[in-house]
Symmetry: D2
Subunit: 355 residues, 4 copies
């Protein structure tokens, strides 16, 4: 109960620090008989890894995921699946200067207050490196859900005040921002590069969608699908908000505008809108599931900031090193992973809904 597990049926537990020998993840509760290979995991890890483009950190980590257990002759066995990713290029010396300083809006101060000790090397446990494990577990969830028709993807819909205005899914992986609007992507990229040049950082909004999820996922009244998605997505580093469907915009509508009315089409129920984001009363309704995540600007910036040190003295800090000026492009695969993990959990839990 240290808080490093998520999911009640499809349970994901991560371990590892940024500058330790490795990070890893145990997926417990995955059914037997799912086809799973390291290649299926690697393709997702590659989408998250550092150094993949000019706008991400220039650290070059291989991020090779190795399946250590739970898979035999190409299929899952029902045993816990452990995937390990060795850490490379950990330059702890870069962090010596930060050893006793609390970086503003980082986890440093909270960890120190909580535990009294702190692995300061690269952020230790609070490093975004831990999200590689989430992506690996998300790949397992994808392997479980894809055969039943669930398709999850995420894209960047705004960076600071630049918003995507068009949606072409095929564009997402074609630009380094992961934006479905190629023109907006170009402007976002320029903004990010300018922020980096200025030693600053920018944030924005990511949207994650699940198509093909069946109606009936989610458990009243606390483990609602939207509540569990909110937790899963908010648990990603730098995320400060989550909304479902019309979200904060829902409050601007009248009820008569916001309700998703229903018709039949080709013998199947259809919704005339999707303000619910595919979830009513905490249960999926068969419509596309839509969540959006607010991502703050990376707190690691080169500009000098006021802070205190671990002796509770005032100090200043500049966070040198190789940091992403904008984490959104790399956070998109993490958002997908957390949505996949949540859906996998509820997909399995749903099996107990009826006698």
């Amino acid at each position: 109960m240290g808080g490093n597990s998520i999911g009640k049926q499809f349970t994901v537990t991560t371990w590892g620090e940024s500058h330790g020998p490795a990070v890893g993840v145990v997926v417990d509760g995955c059914p037997a008989g799912i086809a799973l290979s390291e290649a299926m995991i690697q393709v997702q890890l590659d989408r998250r890894r550092p150094g993949q483009s000019a706008i991400s950190t220039q650290r070059m980590e291989g991020d090779v995921g190795v399946i250590m257990s739970g898979v035999f002759e190409g299929v899952t066995t029902g045993a816990p699946i452990h995937i390990m990713i060795k850490n490379m290029q950990a330059k702890s010396r870069d962090y010596e200067a930060l050893k006793s300083l609390f970086r503003p809006s980082h986890a440093d101060y909270g960890y120190q207050m909580k535990y009294g000790v702190r692995d300061w090397r690269g952020g230790g446990r609070s490093s975004a490196r831990e999200t590689a494990c989430r992506v690996a577990a998300g790949a397992v969830a994808r392997a479980l859900l894809a055969p039943v028709g669930v398709d999850v993807f995420a894209h960047v819909i705004s960076v600071k005040d630049i918003h995507a205005e068009t949606f072409d899914r095929s564009q997402i992986e074609k630009n380094i921002v992961r934006c479905a609007d190629a023109q907006a992507a170009q402007r976002m990229e320029e903004l990010i590069m300018a922020a980096r040049k200025d030693g600053d950082s920018v944030g924005g909004v990511i949207e994650a969608r699940a198509e093909g999820a069946p109606a009936g996922l989610g458990e009243p009244v606390f483990d609602r699908l939207d509540a569990d998605l909110a937790k899963a997505l908010m648990s990603i580093n730098a995320v400060k908000g989550v909304e479902i469907g019309s979200g904060f915009g829902a409050g601007l509508n009248f009820g008569s505008q916001n309700n998703d009315q229903m018709r039949m089409a080709d013998g199947r129920p259809v919704f005339m809108s999707n303000n619910s984001g595919g979830i009513d009363g905490g249960i999926s309704n068969g419509n596309t599931i839509i969540a959006r995540l607010a991502v703050k600007p990376t707190p690691s910036i080169l500009k000098e900031q006021m802070t205190i040190n671990s002796s509770f003295e005032e100090a200043t800090v500049k966070v040198e090193g190789r940091h992403d000026p904008c984490v959104l492009p790399r956070a998109a695969p993490v958002a997908e992973a957390m949505m996949l993990i949540t859906l996998a959990d509820h997909y399995l839990r749903h099996r107990s809904s009826r006698a």
Copy 2:
């Protein structure tokens, strides 16, 4: 694991349907020795109960909370605390007409798809009546946290496009909207009354704050305080979004603007801003904890809407009956309760942080 429990150490389980004999809540894991009375629970239930003002539903339910176990001679004993609230005035006949219709943007359709059966009387388990149990459990959490200095309150900051522009905490309980800006409250009230008259409904945004929470609450990496708050708040009926601190606004800042820099004042660390909403890296930092909830317009409206019935035929529906044209004023105490429950859980979990 049916999903009707929340909290790992301070565990809250609710039961009961809108039109059954009663609803109730079991709080397990509350420490012994906390002073707790029915009066402390009732004062909170009264803030949530129907019929309290002209803008809430005109159902008159007493909502009397009775402590059935776990308290002896005025203090908690460590045994589970069961609080029961009898249902009054349940007019199931009002719902006969809705028996086989799925009300748009309600839980009806999802429940039917999930379970194959459905208690259609008053929404059954999906009724907001269940939130009375949350408020009762929140009162227990408050009794645990108040002696250690944690003070939680919530207020309505916008109704549709009317926003509170000033903040005076003393105003909140003085107007029926629960808005800290008395003038905005007046306009909000008028808007709500107009919506009711038109057979429509409106939504908005609630803010919940916790003052006095110590630094160190929250467990990396999944059970972060913000992640657990997001889940707890998103699990409230009609909530479609949750944000912490600058939330969706964080994305509009540069990192250098968004970071909360630190100084010392009177020998204690202070933050020069609170964009983090009191939580960094998922752990409380001692600053005021701030969360905002987007609440959709009540889906129960008098206007005719298109829908389908349980035979999958097209139909229309008007949701007659006594419904809140705007649930925000009554949802504010529920938001407080969910924040209190989450903080109580992490307050106790934090006891295991150090040797």
Copy 3:
């Protein structure tokens, strides 16, 4: 996490003290569509209730179980099922004398050390009255499992040094000891009456069996079916030991004697013995599941005993009142209930074993 819940998918939470207004149980995670009536619960409660025979306590409690939620038109809805049993005849005055004394081998001293406060009326939370809730929940589990062919029953196989020597299931409910050997039952009854007359008490061994449980129940490596049965059965008041199959006798065999060899019969696998008690490697093998529980003599006896009081002074105590001189006959339905709850949990968990 106060410890008052058991089961991960079929989750049972009990609340209530012996001398409070009622006791109750919430079953969460029961699938929708199970036929369930109060009569199905009552028949089991009647088998456990006090005052049912000359050898049980003479307290006369009606023990009427009322379904408060989760059932609509005769079937479960998937919502939590709350069953409440009002307390009658609670004579707290009987316990005034025991208010500050720790009864030997009772929970009194432990509760005081743990919580610092204690509801001393009738044992409070530690009273065996709580087991009525388990029996009610067991009836729900039975309603889930009976349609799939699982049949659970328990019987007393020894009282002190008197052992059942024959097994005739039809005899169990025909004698007040619940022994499958009518002649042994007669001698057991005499022994119990003699112990009562002497102000003393006796214990013994109960056997619980599940016939018809499918192979495949149980989760490696900690939530093994035998491990979860051991927990469930050991959690019953006065139980001091649990064994599966040949149990403590297994150690007296050579491996070649203890192994259950397999053959085919009528196209189905059969075991040539059942030393495993139906469970190998923590997973059911389709053979009858057999568990035995060691039950200590009731610690409440009329004889004077040495003890201390809550001021840590030496004292003596005689536990007056209406106590069972032998709890085994009434504990048998509780053992059945705990086995049923455990099997129901694993029956549902097993649904996630395969893709």
Copy 4:
């Protein structure tokens, strides 16, 4: 929820198959600030490892435990502690012959029925190799509990019909049987060697004790300390029974004999006997905690046995290879580990007992 975790606050999750690249364990919820080194883990792993004496399997596995996370500069940080143990000498070819045969009284048949697939190499997940992970986690629990005075040890009290008759703790680690009676140990060893020579195996009983555990550990009513110990100990491979204190012998006493009466000595409560095994009403009373485990004879024997194969045809099987003719000496450290893990969990949970 695949069943590979145990403990609610001090949570232990194991992964890995016998013939995979490694096995490992994640301990989540261990407080920060505990001194922990690989040497503290290795000393325990060495007590469990194969090949340590003439009566254990002759496989020579180094069983080197490596701390991969959660420890920084010699102390725990509050982050999950991952310990990995590489597999050596995995001779999967030995198992080719058993690929489609169900070894009697092994997990083979149950796994096949449950999952439809099975890693047959060396028993895969069901191998006792997994218990190395438990021993590693137990060493972490010991590091947490030793500074507060809790001392756990286990010893073999019977092998088949040979019983220890004296108790001298200092003898336990001096003989290869781990028996506290040196003379009985000699006879046990001879019996084990004779069984091996005959291609057979023997079982017996282990006793585990915790001295110095404070009163107050255990949570009513399901997560009782004895119930959780029963689960933890029953979850060990080959264990078929668990008893606490006088256990199955309790039923042979009158209540007046079985009750542990209390006196004061040197200002502290003392018990005049320990039939309760240190636990009353599920809560520790400060007396020595005593549990005994029935261990069946190793099912892997060289003698020919009847079985069926995975095509459901009758067959015979001889389990060749390097198996322990008696697992008790190596199971004793595993029993200690499971007792330590359970106590660590309840030690931390107890921190929430009082306001």
